[in-house]
């Protein structure tokens, strides 16, 4: 492993999870009410992938991290104010909708093209990272499609651990049913790794990293290609928030013993 990896992380923005979402429909398909105004965050699982990528790049000299984001340019710029302070990366921006209702087939086509156009991309060193599913479309489809388009045969989903050996081969742990892990080995790049949480905490903001990243971020945003992504072959019949509000019965000032009895009865019912 003399030259290090080129780690390309696919990740974009999603509405801040604390925001209330309300679907609206338009001739172009469904969207969110006040979508352009909603504060956004970096898609959480993609964020875990980004932190893992940066950590790996730090350990393996010669490695470099790219963050490839498809989203509305103005919102990407806002997002970068925080994300760019976390870890070093080079941004590759594509200007288009980040809606959860766009079709993964189209998004994958655009992202694969953007990755393919990265100057000096060497597929034999490529690790394609991203979240195992987004907090918007939540499908877990896009990375596999990008991998297929880039001809990558080795793919992993819901990854929590990647351990790279000196010769560039690696061991991967993927989440499977029942709280278990599937462990696999791979002889080396290229590979696709769709991350679950991984094991790293969110890095604290580092203004120095921010300044360094921002030098590349502004030009990347400026030259961001416009990409037409929409609902593709999907025809939506309805999008709705089913009423789920419950009439909560609040039990107060009641001895623990009585509460426990009620809970036990309920469990046994």
């Amino acid at each position: 492993m003399t030259n290090g990896f080129q780690i390309v992380v696919c990740g974009s923005l999603v509405p801040d999870p604390l925001q209330t979402l309300e679907p609206v429909s338009s001739p172009q398909g469904p969207g969110l009410k006040n979508e352009t105004m909603l504060p956004s965050v970096l898609d959480p699982w993609a964020a875990c992938a980004l932190y893992e990528a940066a950590n790996l790049a730090k350990q393996i000299p010669g490695s470099k991290v790219y963050l490839v984001s498809l989203g509305p340019k103005a919102k990407l710029q806002q997002l970068m104010m925080t994300v760019a302070q976390k870890v070093p990366f080079e941004l590759v921006a594509v200007d288009g909708s980040a809606s959860g209702f766009t079709d993964a087939q189209q998004v994958a086509e655009q992202l694969a093209a953007a990755i393919g156009a990265i100057p000096g991309l060497d597929k034999s060193r490529l690790l394609l990272f991203g979240g195992c599913s987004s907090a918007s479309r939540d499908a877990g489809v896009t990375l596999q499609l990008i991998g297929e388009r880039l001809g990558i045969q080795d793919q992993f989903t819901a990854v929590d651990e990647l351990k790279v050996a000196d010769d560039g081969s690696f061991t991967v742990k993927e989440r499977i049913e029942g709280g278990r892990y599937q462990v696999s080995t791979c002889t080396g790049a290229p590979a696709v790794l769709a991350w679950a949480t991984g094991s790293l905490p969110e890095p604290p903001n580092n203004p120095q990293v921010g300044m360094m990243n921002m030098r590349g971020v502004m030009p990347a945003l400026m030259k961001a290609r416009k990409a037409e992504v929409n609902t593709g072959a999907v025809a939506y019949a309805a999008t709705e928030i089913p009423a789920q509000k419950r009439d909560t019965r609040i039990v107060k000032d009641t001895p623990a013993e009585e509460i426990a009895r009620e809970i036990v009865e309920w469990i046994r019912r």
Binding site: F156, G179, R180, T187, A235, T248
Partner: protein, 339 residues
């Protein structure tokens, strides 16, 4: 024509999620009048075909080559793509298991198909197949169709009743698959916690959620992490419950705070965790914030124990909120369950 695409487990049996998908396919075939075929990948696929021979399929196609004995993207995707192409199906229904989540969207791409995942309903409406799935992590439910075939739909587990009928003879046909010569990826094994340390139990009736409150300072000004651990583990054993957690309680470990080490990211429920299906859920010392509660979408009966009468659970997110000290309540609960 509908293909129900399945895989076997290590022992050659079909997972429950596969049997549920068979039920979904049977009912869709009935509604549309379409022909039904079955495709099975993995160890003893022919035996698994026999086990569901009564499902009404006109053909059973299998791939049971040694290459697919264990899950791996390259070989599973090749096998699945071959079955999709060989079958000539317009609609493919497959279970959303981890094995298929790893490879089917890619396989669909190879077979010229388009894939949707996490489907919670599929039926015929006005001559079209209409599916439902959640967007924005269980927050918005979308009904849609795809004007493209083949269309592969991966069905979430827990939605349909598993198919069950006496086994027979399916006379399965083994499909030819080009696997390529060398495989870079090798399956090395499954890592599972020891049986008594296994806290995630998808088939349990009850989900027990532990929140960060268990590790916070209590009314005496002290933390009681050890006591919290034994109360929680004691309860899990007695109630045979599955353990879920909030994000905060797992994050404490990577942040190096005193924590409950048997709780890991795998337990986390919510926006960046799981969305388990259990009949009942009991939340303790967890505030019930929206990013957590979206993971409760498929928990029908919900109760919570929290000191704060204004916590999230009080805002219509639980059926009952007990405003009480979870340490006191759970120690009584354990006593009663033990008695």
């Amino acid at each position: 024509m509908i293909l129900t695409l399945l895989h076997t487990q290590d022992d050659g049996s079909l997972p429950k999620a596969a049997l549920e998908t068979v039920s979904a396919a049977i009912s869709l075939a009935q509604e549309t009048g379409a022909e039904l075929k079955v495709g099975i990948i993995g160890n003893d696929a022919a035996g698994a075909a026999n086990a569901i021979s009564a499902c009404g399929a006109s053909a059973f196609l299998t791939v049971s080559a040694p290459e697919v004995a264990s899950p791996r993207y390259a070989t599973d995707a090749a096998a699945a793509a071959a079955l999709i192409k060989t079958s000539g199906a317009e609609i493919i229904l497959a279970p959303g298991t981890s094995r298929f989540a790893r490879c089917l969207p890619g396989a669909a791409f190879r077979a010229g198909a388009q894939a949707d995942t996490h489907v919670v309903s599929v039926k015929a409406e006005g001559g079209k197949v209409v599916a439902q799935r959640w967007f924005y992590r269980q927050r918005i439910l979308g009904s849609f169709t795809r004007n493209a075939t083949p269309w592969l739909l991966m069905i979430d587990s827990g939605v349909y009743e598993p198919f069950s009928a006496a086994p027979g003879m399916a006379a399965a046909t083994e499909a030819a698959v080009e696997f390529g010569t060398e495989q870079k990826t090798k399956f090395s094994g499954i890592e599972a916690p020891a049986a008594d340390a296994q806290t995630i139990r998808p088939d349990a009736q009850l989900l027990f959620v532990a929140g960060a409150g268990w590790t916070k300072k209590q009314k005496d000004g002290q933390t009681h992490v050890g006591e919290a651990g034994s109360l929680i583990q004691g309860f899990l054993k007695l109630a045979k419950a599955s353990l879920g957690s909030s994000k905060s309680i797992v994050d404490m470990q990577s942040e190096g705070q005193e924590a409950l080490t048997f709780i890991t990211h795998m337990n986390q429920v919510g926006q960046t965790g799981s969305t388990p299906r259990h009949a009942k859920g009991l939340s303790t010392c967890c505030h019930g914030e929206e990013p957590h509660v979206v993971g409760w979408r498929f928990i029908n009966e919900r109760r919570a124990v929290n000191l704060d009468p204004n916590c999230g659970w009080a805002q219509g997110k639980a059926d009952v909120l007990y405003v009480a000290d979870a340490f006191e309540v759970m120690s009584k609960v354990n006593e009663m369950l033990q008695a």
